[in-house]
Symmetry: D2
Subunit: 346 residues, 4 copies
């Protein structure tokens, strides 16, 4: 993410408007101001709130699926909010997106074609496109407004959006995969958490993985999906269930996790394949990165990958013991409420 | 206050920017959104907060004296914030401004010349200019940025700002009154509360009233000043002291109060003069208003004036017993911190 | 309200428990503590919160009808909370209860028998019993737990609870009035606001007033009821409707209001009778109080009564224009959710 | 932590008090209640708050050094609060305490004598005493009230407090170590974060480590200290500096970290010794634990230890580049304010 054009323009417009040049400031952000007075409040759980100061509302919109907001926050820089839930923050979005994309691409022998379910923000495509081997990235997001919004306002992803290796589709990823006949080396699930009424929970079910996604994986293909909170107190909301569900469908399944500060929790991802996934040493991983990836990674390297793959005893045990399988009937949800349901229930 | 031009323009600009027309929405304000997520928090006391949802930050600025913010709020419409304290809300600013201006002007036999200390927002001038008899309104605010800000963004005061009966001065009201030699029929104190380090507390002192303000009142002239919170639990912060201070300086002093919802409290004003102030019946007041005031008043009429003049037993007793006199040495403050002090202490 | 026994006992118990005497403190209340950290949050509206610091939870309970909590608050001393809504605060409960009880009793030529609908806290009975003429106060509250709770913990009402002039009934006030055959000089509605699912909204309907309550009023009898928020922005929630509903049922109806700080709003009451209600001068009222009331009133006197009876122009106009009549089908509610409904819907 | 005696007693007492048995409930915790209304708010940074619901204040106290509070929280069970900062929560205190204690004791060839700086809560002693080899644990906390408080209210630490292998001293750890002449195999720093005015920052300085602590380490002795937040956005507050400071004093220094949910961040610890610290395989670690530790560990095992030792690229780079050395003059602080300073400044 980065500088947002609209803002400089607005300022420009204003200074024309006022005879006098009003000194610009963000809310309670000036040297003068005695205390913060504007706050964003995310309800992590019904009894737990993550609250940070806001100095600017950079942009807001609403789609058929979600409310969209871009804020300038005190602790995390620019933050993208969908349906009142923080999706991505300037300060640490690289952690989530590097962890989502690079392990699967590094584990694949030669990833040429990538399919991104969701990912409207563009950051996941940005990371995938860093791989020299990648010839085609198909990004399929259902929400045109979110995509247009991020295209317009997230400068750090502009290049990715312009890449001729990127095919951008506005469609339900499920329907898209059902219709297509080509196969992909890596399919990446960069979807919103399964929240009640959200647009995404059908993309975490056994039948979807089995009947729709798996047929679209090429030989040796790898699926990786974000899998919700993975903290010691939160990993049983959906993470352990998504892991166990993938174990019903794929021969080899690898869960991993990392702490994402702006999410106020550890976060989980799961890789899955029917081919054995290699184990690299720290050094081997670092060499692969240097050979395959254009430019530097901020978060991921050999040692970091090792850390994300090593889950603590509490989480490991729950994952091993998990029996819940994610189906449309037995769906589990993280706290929060989507908007699609409301639209449907109209 | 009213519609803010910049906004429609921004929207216009955006719809040009985006190929696709992003549906506009304010934060968590759309039909879809499940809960409010952006909040303004005013610290009324260290242990008491007044918190309302915000859907838009319409504009922000900073002056040498104050932080300036214009918000679109959930419960109160547009609200003007100075140094983190709500100054004025679309929903009920008319209560404060009608109560501040009209009683003194109605009590005066023939108010021609008005001097407003502060009042940069423009609403006080707007109310004063409603009086047919008024030939000249001198509005003297120290903060050019606030005045420019309100001129630019508070449409409902635009006419007042354009009136040829209005003289707008950027100066310290104290210095201005000291230099001037002309006299005024009514002097109105529309100043920020006396907060520690704020720009205004020197304009509530006995010596100021005695030596600087009083000489500028014409024969039969009336001073009226806003006097801070006047609730049963808050009136001893500054209201009772301002009242008692004026009693040291003027022969006739009348305190009055009304509940202003967006302030989350009752508010106090004090009128003072060396000429006896008339007692009008409800009917006489209504007749005066119809004869003198152009257009309708929303809040004030004969019965309302009677209600604002009748203080409850608790407040009346404290006022009668108050011995504190407001001097620069003994200044009392409402909770909050101004910015001027910080500048000075640099 | 007042000192709560349990506390001293707890302290006593603790000092026995610990070899060492731990210095007592309330949360973040000690000289040392740098900032408040425990807060009570009342949701006034979905987009408006009233938040104050809490230093102690003095007691909690739950009845079939309501959650009950007694807190030690920063700004308001002890506060009684029912279903998350502040009911009564040490700092200003006298405003609400004096305004509820005394005007009707003063207007009545010779009030001997009083019926209180609700009033489980005991403060309303306490005020009624101050009248020398009163021989019998029947207090009928549906919630035994609340009554037992307040009996046990609100010392300032202990005397009232012990008075042999008080008859305490645990019953639905509606059922009780339906069954009874005796009549009362004054019936007082000290009921919770009509909130969706709350136990009380049926006691604000035209049919209840017409068919059940009115027959229980003696000749010249007066009904007075609390009537919810009466602020410029809130009086149309239920106040104007309750007023208009009573106008359908009684010949003479008088609305009045006063600001109650701990409610963060002005509050409304309505008196109604089929006999003309007298107009007293300030002096006549003061004389009546001195003749009839044992001891001092803190809030109400002649001038205060005048102020509460004089509504501002905004509220007066809405009341005059209000056409909504409160029936079980057309019930209006203040923001909030009761618990009775939940029990029922089980 | 665990069941708190006082409570059952209070309930007992109450049911005696009231004729009727008031059903017990915690604040807004009952099935009935529609929303949380009591909240604990920790200011993580000036612009970031961690807010969770509270159902009971189990106990409060104040010492010469800190405010002490034990709360029943919604998301974390019982939480111990010192000076408004969450110290320890039922739900996950085992993560912090196992990570603090066991790595150093496992790395030591044969740990017999342990010195705990601080640790008044008792959980650190509890973990150390799980090691069969440990003959003596000296726990030295400056705050008698905190120790008495935890002794009285944290049942899960009662056994540890009663152990005859535990020597409990009330003294400044610095002074204590200065006076003593015996040496220890492991010295554990379980101190409050260095906050401005807090009691502890002098125990993180180079001179303290060099001149006072190191001489008290036996041959092959290991120091381990908690080292504050270690998240990608927070590790430069004090963690990197404590690490770099220890590198000036010890030959071998190992930083490690783990996410502690109730702290809303990853947390850091640092081990240091002048003898090389061994590298164990996952299996070797698991064997050591089974041989040395009585009973099970909840969080730590071979794989978990590996994960905590593997820092991500961002943190590793900052640690490598850190040049700041922690001295009394150059002290860095985490956000927050202690109380000792206030006492001193009196």
């Amino acid at each position: 993410m980065g500088e947002v054009h609209i803002n400089s323009d607005v300022n420009h417009y204003e200074s024309k408007l006022n005879g006098s040049a009003i000194k610009k400031a963000t809310v309670a952000d000036s040297k003068n101001s005695s205390r913060r007075c504007l706050w964003f409040e995310e309800e992590i759980e019904e009894d737990l709130r993550w609250v940070f100061s806001v100095s600017k509302i950079l942009h807001t919109g609403v789609s058929d699926y979600q409310d969209i907001t871009l804020l300038e926050s005190g602790p995390f820089g620019k933050v993208l909010i969908l349906d009142g839930k923080l999706q991505s923050a300037d300060a640490d979005e690289f952690v989530y997106h590097e962890a989502l994309v690079h392990p699967a691409l590094l584990y694949h022998s030669n990833p040429k074609s990538i399919f991104i379910m969701g990912g409207g923000e563009g950051s996941t495509a940005r990371e995938a496109l860093k791989h020299r081997s990648v010839k085609k990235v198909v990004m399929c997001d259902i929400d045109k407004e979110v995509v247009d919004f991020c295209k317009a306002y997230l400068i750090s992803n502009r290049e990715a959006f312009k890449s001729n290796r990127l095919q951008l589709l506005i469609n339900d990823a499920r329907a898209e995969l059902e219709e297509r006949e080509d196969k992909f080396d890596v399919i990446i699930g960069d979807l919103a958490d399964p929240v009640e009424g959200g647009p995404c929970y059908q993309l975490y079910t056994q039948s979807f993985y089995e009947n729709i996604l798996k047929p679209r994986l090429a030989l040796g293909g790898i699926l990786v999906t974000q899998a919700g909170p993975a903290g010691i107190l939160s990993h049983e909301e959906v993470y352990s269930s998504i892991y166990n569900t993938l174990r019903q469908v794929f021969k080899y399944v690898i869960p991993y996790a990392a702490h994402v500060p702006s999410y106020s929790d550890s976060w989980g991802w799961v890789m899955a394949s029917d081919e054995p996934l290699p184990k690299f040493s720290i050094e081997e991983t670092d060499i692969r990165i240097s050979q395959r990836v254009i430019g530097d990674l901020c978060f991921l390297d050999g040692e970091t990958l090792g850390a994300t793959l090593a889950l603590n005893k509490v989480v490991r045990r729950s994952l091993a013991k998990e029996t819940h399988i994610y189906t449309e009937e037995t769906a589990r949800f993280v706290h929060g409420h989507g908007t699609a349901q409301k639209l449907i229930s109209k």
